[in-house]
């Protein structure tokens, strides 16, 4: 008597694919939907882990697209301080689908994003990226001009990109309860705004709402770039803190599980969307947590290397190895240097008891 499992390859079976292969023998974790070549313009955005992906792609000679480059004369450390070269545009970390949607709506003038500016001690802070400038902006006009530049960079990035890599980070967020504006970080944890329990509301996004917001964001990008392909990942970095009332460990599991499910559903929904399992490669028990730093939160370089090793190997397996790119006189943009991932959520750590 035959059954559907008889014809499946070894990757469908735990024993040969995982138990016998071992952590470093895993193969074919990703069956990529589309080829990514060094010549393709790759845009990265999202949670902290997206920074690793952009950097690793650039190190391999892939074209990481910097739509908002640092100006001349800025030293590398100063550029990092001002959040240049971290992502393809100067948004800082985008942790949630709604934050991505808000940025895109502003960039393409495609929706009513509530207007809000924070001010503290005569300095001005952008609620969508309150730590983008150390010390805030000198004036509201400066804040708005700087935001307009970033919105132009987002438009350019979306319209020019071949591949948009977005790393989903969190389900938890804080919003203005009156207007619905979602903040990048909880008011009061960073300079710019005092926390107001009557106005600032906690939101822990569920599958439906996050799926809807991500779908809207990806559709908006597709409207402006029909050929755009999207590669979703889920950050393997656990929450720094949770406001859900649950233990931070279980809150992390909830958050990542929902995001993973949303990413999977999006792949089902849209042919131009793929999911790359960096999350699984770092977090799965097969790896016994070996890629985490002693705090069991930060991801070590070996983990990033393993993730990207799978990325390139699975691309090569599916499509053949790409030709080595000729080095141009002017090298393509490269994200900021190794070892200094900017993770604004870390600021929450300062409030830990």
């Amino acid at each position: 008597m035959s059954n559907p499992y008889e014809t499946l390859g070894p990757q469908a079976y735990w024993r040969p694919a995982v138990a016998e292969a071992g952590a470093f023998g895993l193969q074919g974790l990703w069956q990529p939907r589309f080829r990514i070549l060094p010549k393709h313009k790759i845009v990265t955005a999202g949670s902290c882990f997206a920074q690793h992906i952009g950097r690793a792609l650039s190190a391999r000679g892939y074209h990481w697209y910097d739509a908002e480059p640092a100006p001349p004369f800025l030293r590398e450390d100063a550029a990092r301080q001002f959040n240049y070269g971290i992502f393809s545009f100067r948004t800082g970390n985008i942790y949630t689908p709604k934050m991505l949607l808000q940025w895109l709506q502003l960039a393409f003038d495609a929706g009513d994003v509530p207007d809000e500016i924070w001010e503290e001690d005569g300095r001005f802070y952008d609620p969508l990226r309150p730590v983008i400038e150390p010390g805030g902006f000198a004036s509201e006009a400066e804040l708005r001009a700087a935001r307009a530049a970033t919105l132009a960079a987002i438009r350019d990035a979306v319209q020019q990109a071949d591949v948009f890599v977005f790393t989903l980070g969190l389900t938890e967020s804080w919003e203005n309860g009156e207007t619905g504006l979602q903040y990048a970080l909880c008011p009061g944890t960073v300079k710019g705004a005092q926390f107001d329990p009557d106005r600032h509301v906690f939101r822990n996004g569920g599958f439906r709402s996050l799926h809807k917001e991500l779908q809207a964001a990806l559709r908006l990008m597709r409207q402006h770039n029909k050929g755009l392909r999207v590669l979703l990942t889920v950050s393997p970095v656990p929450l720094t803190a949770t406001a859900s009332g649950n233990h931070v460990l279980t809150a992390t599991t909830y958050s990542k599980s929902v995001l993973r499910a949303v990413a999977g559903q999006m792949v089902e929904d849209m042919k131009t969307v793929d999911y790359f399992p960096s999350y699984e490669i770092i977090t799965h028990p097969i790896f016994r947590g070996m890629f985490y730093a002693p705090n069991m939160r930060s991801v070590e370089k070996a983990g990033v290397d393993t993730v990207m090793g799978h990325f390139f190997a699975d691309q090569a397996r599916a499509f053949g190895a790409p030709k080595t790119r000729q080095r141009k006189k002017v090298p393509p943009a490269a994200p900021a240097a190794e070892g200094e991932v900017t993770c604004e959520e870390e600021l929450l750590g300062a409030f830990a008891k």
Partner: protein, 248 residues
């Protein structure tokens, strides 16, 4: 009792030649100041270093040049030697600082905050030995220090759109606005001021085509020599007058 003349040193590279010419031609007068020059041109200027608590030439040949330019035998410049020192030119070049940044700022995604501009200015002054010397001198507290950077290149002397020249490298700069120039000067000024040094900015009315100096301030014979860097005595007089106003 009448106050004594202030001891002023104009310290610099080849650009101080235009100050000397301005005085000689009578287009610049400095009542109330007792003036000395200190410096050297070209490669020799690079031999001036901060050694043993004074700015001094580090080779005999450079010392000879410095003494010749000074005319009074002075070969060191130390805190307290003068009431005021005006760094003039000194390889802090507006023509290298302005065009790349303004070109960047002209892009839709190129707006730069004051803090970013300030960081860029800090890099430029940090990389300029004379600017570091100026801050060191000011840090002592006994000498008021001013800095007039090398001015923008003169318009009309060279084909600025030719390969390798300003407009070929930075084609958007001719649309630079006064506001953009003001912001760059402010960034430089703030950075120098933090080190106790006062910026003497190139007067706005001498600037044309976004980031160039009006052709009427070209050095004599500029068309033949192709020298777009150095300026006329009249230009030097404007700059030193600006210094005098600031010093008051």
């Amino acid at each position: 009792m009448p106050s004594r003349n202030k001891l002023l040193c104009v310290f610099g590279d080849s650009h101080i030649g235009s100050v000397r010419k301005a005085l000689d031609a009578g287009v610049l007068k400095l009542p109330g100041f007792q003036l000395e020059f200190f410096g050297a041109a070209g490669e020799t200027f690079r031999k001036l270093h901060l050694v043993d608590d004074a700015i001094r030439p580090t080779t005999d040949a450079a010392a000879e040049v410095v003494a010749h330019i000074n005319g009074k035998g002075r070969v060191t410049l130390a805190p307290g030697d003068f009431d005021m020192v005006l760094f003039y030119g000194c390889r802090l070049r507006l023509s290298e600082f302005f065009p790349p940044l303004i070109h960047h700022m002209q892009r839709d995604n190129g707006y730069l905050s004051d803090a970013v501009l300030r960081a860029a200015a800090a890099r430029v002054t940090g990389d300029c030995r004379a600017a570091r010397m100026a801050k060191w001198l000011a840090g002592d507290g006994r000498t008021r220090v001013f800095f007039a950077p090398s001015p923008l290149l003169t318009w009309g002397v060279l084909d600025m759109a030719a390969e390798g020249r300003t407009l070929a490298q930075y084609p958007r700069v001719d649309a630079a606005t006064r506001d953009q120039r003001d912001r760059l000067f402010a960034a430089l000024s703030d950075d120098l001021a933090e080190g106790g040094v006062a910026l003497i900015r190139q007067p706005e009315h001498t600037i044309v085509e976004g980031v160039f100096t009006d052709a009427k301030y070209a050095i004599e014979g500029a068309d033949e020599s192709g020298d777009a860097a150095h300026k006329s005595p009249e230009f030097a007089a404007l700059m030193v007058d600006a210094f005098v106003k600031a010093a008051k």
